[in-house]
């Protein structure tokens, strides 16, 4: 076991950390991750192990760095020269920030769901086919099968099968978000990253997407940033609590929720601040 950060804050998290290792294989490892944006220290020495085929929820007050952390995973900070990322992130045994690693290869391993659905300016069909076509799948039959399969996986097929060629923006917001999920799944990722993926949806659509996450954790490792504690309580297997750029506590959901190790976590869960 690697020595973790010596921050006082971090010491308390050691126990659940080991716990996580015992029960589930680690899929994504974050070691000593530091992020500076415009010279400001945004993420401070984050160490984290995302377990395989589980739902990990990242919670914490606004501005604590949840989004920043998530975007490190698929290197979305690459294009912004004002963001400096140091430390080590591995998916499986592969170093995400390794000098020889293709960024497209890394991104293909993770499907990203944004806060608001971001459909591409094309038809429903082409949205899902976008990824597979990028990777050189040309045969119509094959593309069609992928599209159909993934639309079924997100429960959208019945709703859209008669209008696959119509622009994706005509779908409802909830449908659009599921379409984005299907689009992400079509590149056969290993992980799904969601950044408050249900926060712009109405309760019903939100529940649908939530159910999908639960269903999909048999196949994918899922990391969700969420603002709603209730949602985390409903679906999280593991919870990471962040505060002011530090990872304060990480562990199995029932541990963190029922018996938090750190005072800050307790206060956040009690609603003392948000």
């Amino acid at each position: 076991m690697r020595a973790l950060s010596k921050d006082i804050v971090m010491n308390d998290t050691l126990t659940p950390f080991i716990d996580a290792h015992k029960t589930n294989k680690t899929h994504l490892t974050v070691e000593n991750l530091n992020v500076h944006i415009y010279g400001k220290h945004i993420l401070k020495k984050v160490n984290l192990s995302i377990p395989e085929k589980q739902i990990t929820c990242i919670i914490g007050p606004s501005g604590c760095g949840k989004t920043t952390l998530l975007r490190c995973f698929n290197r979305l900070h690459d294009d912004n020269s004002e963001v400096k990322v140091t430390g080590n992130i591995r998916i499986g045994n592969e170093d995400i920030y390794g000098s020889h690693v293709e960024v497209t290869h890394i991104r293909k391993k993770m499907g990203l769901l944004a806060q608001r659905p971001t459909v591409l300016p094309m038809s429903i069909y082409d949205n899902v086919a976008y990824g597979p076509r990028l990777y050189g799948i040309k045969r119509r039959r094959k593309v069609y099968e992928i599209v159909k399969h993934q639309l079924m996986a997100v429960g959208l097929w019945e709703e859209v099968k008669d209008r696959l060629k119509s622009p994706a923006v005509r779908l409802s917001i909830g449908q659009q978000q599921r379409l984005c999920l299907a689009r992400g799944l079509a590149v056969e990722p290993e992980m799904i990253l969601g950044d408050e993926a249900t926060s712009s949806l109405d309760p019903l659509a939100s529940t649908k997407v939530e159910e999908l996450f639960v269903k999909m954790k048999d196949t994918y490792s899922i990391v969700l940033v969420t603002h709603t504690l209730r949602q985390a309580k409903r679906i999280a297997d593991y919870v990471a609590f962040m505060y002011l750029g530090e990872l304060v506590e990480f562990g199995r959901a029932e541990e963190v929720f029922n018996n938090p190790k750190h005072k800050l976590t307790q206060q956040y869960l009690d609603g003392s601040f948000s």
């Binding site: 290869h105 991104r107 993770m110 990203l112 300016p121 094309m122 976008y130 923006v169 689009r183």
Partner: protein, 283 residues
Amino acid sequence: MMGLSLFSIAVLLLIGLVLFLYSLPTLRDNNTFHLFFTSSWKPFKGEFGFGAFIYSTLYVTFIAIVMAFPPALLCALYMSEYATSTVKRVFSPVIDLLSGIPPVIYGVWGTLTIVPVISEKLAPHFVDFSTGYSVLAGGVVLAIMILPLIVSILIEVFTAIPKGIREASLSLGATKWQTVKKVILKKSLTGIVATVVLAVSRAFGETIAVLMVCGNFTDIPQSVFDACYPLPALIANNYGEMMSIPGYESALMFAAFLLFIIIVIFNAGSRLVLYRIKKNSQS
């Protein structure tokens, strides 16, 4: 708002109407077919054939757009998608500055550089003789003039596209170039068309810079190395001198009316194109 829009429509109609009324004598005294399709221009004899002027206007504008658009598009894509913030900080003001330079300066510059290059270096490879004052010179100067305009509007168009859409494409494993080709260009198609329309309208009406380098010779140019005479140049060169010749003023008014009509038709046509695109993509 409504009132203002009505007002601007009224102004437009009024301009068109006044120009039309003033050009009535020309329309009455000449065979319409001759006006449009012949190029005999003899104000003293009362012969007014606008063929060469119309042709020159369209020709110069066409060359300018064809030459300016591709580099402008690439430049704008570079600035909005690839350039680091430092590069942007340096070049954005430069582009704005370029589009603010008065046309006459482009004209002088064209006379001093483009014209000699055409007459000495370029034309001898293709034709026996060229003064350099030509369709090509007009097109090149005009292209250089409208390039910064196109670039700065296109940058606006591209930066208006939400970041999330780029990130959606990138996070599916697309490269930047793939994202540009398949998403950015598609998303901004209406904006690009609108930009070209604006640039073309601007090019149609550009007077001084073109007038200084295009030779102002009333004949249908046989090649791009021949002189030409676009409508705005005709009006600017002769307005004020036409008082003594009967029918001349009306003929120049008719030239202005033609220019007006060309621009209105062109804009209406492109509205239609934009509408079609919007309807098809709904995005």
